[in-house]
Symmetry: D3
Subunit: 213 residues, 6 copies
Amino acid sequence: MAQQKKKPTSKPLPAPANSRPKAAAGDDTEITALDLPPGPLSAEMEAYFAKCQDKLGFIPNVLKAYAFDNAKLAAFAAMYNDLMLAPSGLSKLEREMIAVAVSAHNRCYYCLVAHGAGVRALSGDPVLGELMAMNYRAARLSKRERAMLDFAVRLTAEPWLVGDADREGLRKAGFSDRDIWDIAAVAGFFNMSNRVASATDMRPNSVYHGQGR
Amino acid sequence: MAQQKKKPTSKPLPAPANSRPKAAAGDDTEITALDLPPGPLSAEMEAYFAKCQDKLGFIPNVLKAYAFDNAKLAAFAAMYNDLMLAPSGLSKLEREMIAVAVSAHNRCYYCLVAHGAGVRALSGDPVLGELMAMNYRAARLSKRERAMLDFAVRLTAEPWLVGDADREGLRKAGFSDRDIWDIAAVAGFFNMSNRVASATDMRPNSVYHGQGR
Amino acid sequence: MAQQKKKPTSKPLPAPANSRPKAAAGDDTEITALDLPPGPLSAEMEAYFAKCQDKLGFIPNVLKAYAFDNAKLAAFAAMYNDLMLAPSGLSKLEREMIAVAVSAHNRCYYCLVAHGAGVRALSGDPVLGELMAMNYRAARLSKRERAMLDFAVRLTAEPWLVGDADREGLRKAGFSDRDIWDIAAVAGFFNMSNRVASATDMRPNSVYHGQGR
Amino acid sequence: MAQQKKKPTSKPLPAPANSRPKAAAGDDTEITALDLPPGPLSAEMEAYFAKCQDKLGFIPNVLKAYAFDNAKLAAFAAMYNDLMLAPSGLSKLEREMIAVAVSAHNRCYYCLVAHGAGVRALSGDPVLGELMAMNYRAARLSKRERAMLDFAVRLTAEPWLVGDADREGLRKAGFSDRDIWDIAAVAGFFNMSNRVASATDMRPNSVYHGQGR
Amino acid sequence: MAQQKKKPTSKPLPAPANSRPKAAAGDDTEITALDLPPGPLSAEMEAYFAKCQDKLGFIPNVLKAYAFDNAKLAAFAAMYNDLMLAPSGLSKLEREMIAVAVSAHNRCYYCLVAHGAGVRALSGDPVLGELMAMNYRAARLSKRERAMLDFAVRLTAEPWLVGDADREGLRKAGFSDRDIWDIAAVAGFFNMSNRVASATDMRPNSVYHGQGR
Amino acid sequence: MAQQKKKPTSKPLPAPANSRPKAAAGDDTEITALDLPPGPLSAEMEAYFAKCQDKLGFIPNVLKAYAFDNAKLAAFAAMYNDLMLAPSGLSKLEREMIAVAVSAHNRCYYCLVAHGAGVRALSGDPVLGELMAMNYRAARLSKRERAMLDFAVRLTAEPWLVGDADREGLRKAGFSDRDIWDIAAVAGFFNMSNRVASATDMRPNSVYHGQGR
């Protein structure tokens, strides 16, 4: 999926003298630090995995991580797919931008890699993915985008401070009450996923690294 | 969700000299600060609401808050019920203790009220509910309980720091890898719910306040 | 030092399946984690203890904790009684609200229990006590109350930032210079008490838990 | 790398080209930012002020700040004098060191100036006063002193974390339970005073700046 | 420079419907938010720029940003080149890893992009660059590397806490006193550069994004 | 060491009973905690040291600390002298004020002592030096000075938040774009120096303590 369209500007690098073992070794096989062997999946979940393989070319590791228990996997997939893919006043790209900005606050490796790729792919703008992962405040954003991300990150960092003024700020930036729910729900979801991933040392599929560049 | 077994609190309070309007006025009717009218519910969700009404005597406001969209309600309920009620190496009380300790870190009014009631009811120890909501470190806890809550709160406060040593600490306190997943998943879930509740100013059913005292 | 007027809460709870030892066991007898046997008290302090017993039905544990040294007890009682009970532009309820909001920031179990009871009793609004202890920002407060608590909590969290603009904010909310002193003094006092209580693991009298509910 | 152009310490500085108004102008006359005219004092408090004038050569501004209300002044003076001057397992210097380390955490200008002078004077070591005010961790301290200050500052910064292990640490460093109380009480007291001073913009007597150098 | 060794896993992405303006637009021309036109450069600095162009294929924007003043540019370049390229017990890759881990703590977009590319190029391990920028604690590091980065990030986050125990930790991990200096100096340097870049909204050359992938 | 020019208001202090070893013992001889013997210096650096000795009466310890490596010393001195002494829209005093306010945030003992002396000497106002080191917000500053220090300290504490509004604030306070660069560069430089000093336990020359009082 890597779309590098022209030659890199400069000269090829020499093979590095330093032969460190790869930092990503095993990222595709050792999915978490927990020993939780896959359990039997329902027909519905088997079909979902098959669909992932068919459409993406791989099964995202987060799904494999949940696969030790069919009920947990099904609940996670249902919530994820509704939040990120169902109709909403927020575009899919906007939802991915929230995912990455929240995950950047929480410094979640899994989610930054997987959803950074999502931002790059959906926007067709590789640099936007980097900016979301590094510091969304440095990106050239529309007022709507900035208000959305400021709310999501404040809700992540200091949820106890969020109040009427914050909701009013979103309304002034053009968001409906339903949009506000969706911003909160996506931000909330990644505050959950970031923690499950960090607690279990979840490793992203290596393929994400090259996507959308 | 909550385990109310009998009628709410005791005798009517005398009218106080100081006649401040009640802080809770409307908690049972104005559920969130967002204008999201209830949508049509599936038969399954209608049945779930009826069951809540029957077993608890009320429908938890969080469910009413999600009821503007059947798919979101169903996904939330499925995940919640699996996490908090399905078989696990963690007792239901332990899961409620995590819920409250995490919500205390995030200072989430809705979750502290609803799940503080849960801890009181499940433990039969009203003070334990207060301690979880105020500062779990002040409670007289078993080593297992303390390790579990320390992990959950660290994961809440600084998820980026959690690593092998933290997981090893849980294993030494007697938790299996599956238990570690469950601690992380419950802590993660309330990091999500706390934020949805704070973002929307969700108000708990007043009945919770008197439960289990 | 709240004024409980009637019997604690409602019906006896059924013995819970889960027979954890009570979290509060000994709260009324093991007052702190320090071994400081009571010293001889002056006639004035003996009379003060008798008055507490007479009016409250018990002697607040904080007073028993200070009773190892008559001079320290007398100084503490004099300052406490002046701050919380003497004439002031702040009502007694407002002073208790500050006490609880500050203690919530500092997560002080002793003070949250004792003064949460105070807010419940003085306001006749049990939920207001919960709100102060959980997140005062979630309460339906008057502008005056909110300004007062915002100042007290900012002074607690980041005293180095407080400046002219903060004082002006209080003046605009209707507070006199004397009121500003009193807000600062009450907030300051609980920043002291919270730390003495936390440093010594001070345990509140169990009776507080049921007061004002 | 300061820009003094000639030999160290001694000679008078030339009038600086830059004629900024003095930062301390009025420190001895404008004691706080609040308009609280002095009230009538009791004979006891009059005598106390006279004694200060006699023994110190001036009346500390904090006392003048409290002098708008005799009861508040008396309570403050009683607690202060007991804590800082009465017999204790902690030396007076140790108590002043706690005062300054706590005030440094809270960046309280009044207390750093007044008690920094106290450390310099009691220790006869001007640099020790600077170190306490700047970063006590950079000072060459005994194990006892370091344990005492680490406890006091942790109690200041994160009182909710203090527990049995912290108390045990003090015991291992040679402190009795009474000493632990005194450390906590002095640290607590300055957490109060720092906040009253910051809330009111209290200014120290200029004379402190030169003391003990 | 991209080292993708096999075909990207899946199908080409459709052109995104969403035609947001590029987040990176102008990164190569609008270097900072300050209007500071380039000044005359010394022969030495002209030669340095020519050498950059020749060896890298471009002039790093940070150098162009400093080019408004020859003395500042020369001082920056001298310090940078000594720290990052001169002989040291730390490899060049190790120095770049410190640069990125520090810049990740400070969320500095410029430095994360430029030095993330450096880590990818020097290690030949694209994922290592991502890990340093996202959360170095998630990387599979040697004990030496982990100790080095823990020190650098602690020094970045809370320099006032660093003391003998931290230095001893580095010595136990095999670092000499000279190495400790170098770790501190590199970490310090990026704490400077991160702030100059953030204060001026410095934008990295776009070419960095594709390097070493 | 105290250079009070008129009689202290009060009486001479008695020799302190407490004979603690001096906290500063060895500050002039044990410059850092690292064993890095001085290396050979270039003629230029030898001349620079001689000039320091001649003009200041001593060689600042930071220069001795860097003297183990001539290239590092030369780079440090070049950058320092350009930033602090070269022509700028900021006065030398303003640059020293930034140095101290940043070092106070980072609680860097070396820099607070050395540059606190600088502020005292350049301003002829000893109290201004204390205020910068204790809490610049307590000083009576011009709007220009306050805006400059607020920017420098925000950039120190949370560089990731600095954006267009902060730069606009400086412009409104009368600063040019070049001035903004200089504020950022001085603040950045001390964020570097503070960390090198803290990492190496650098000790200031004792002579600074008495300067400018």
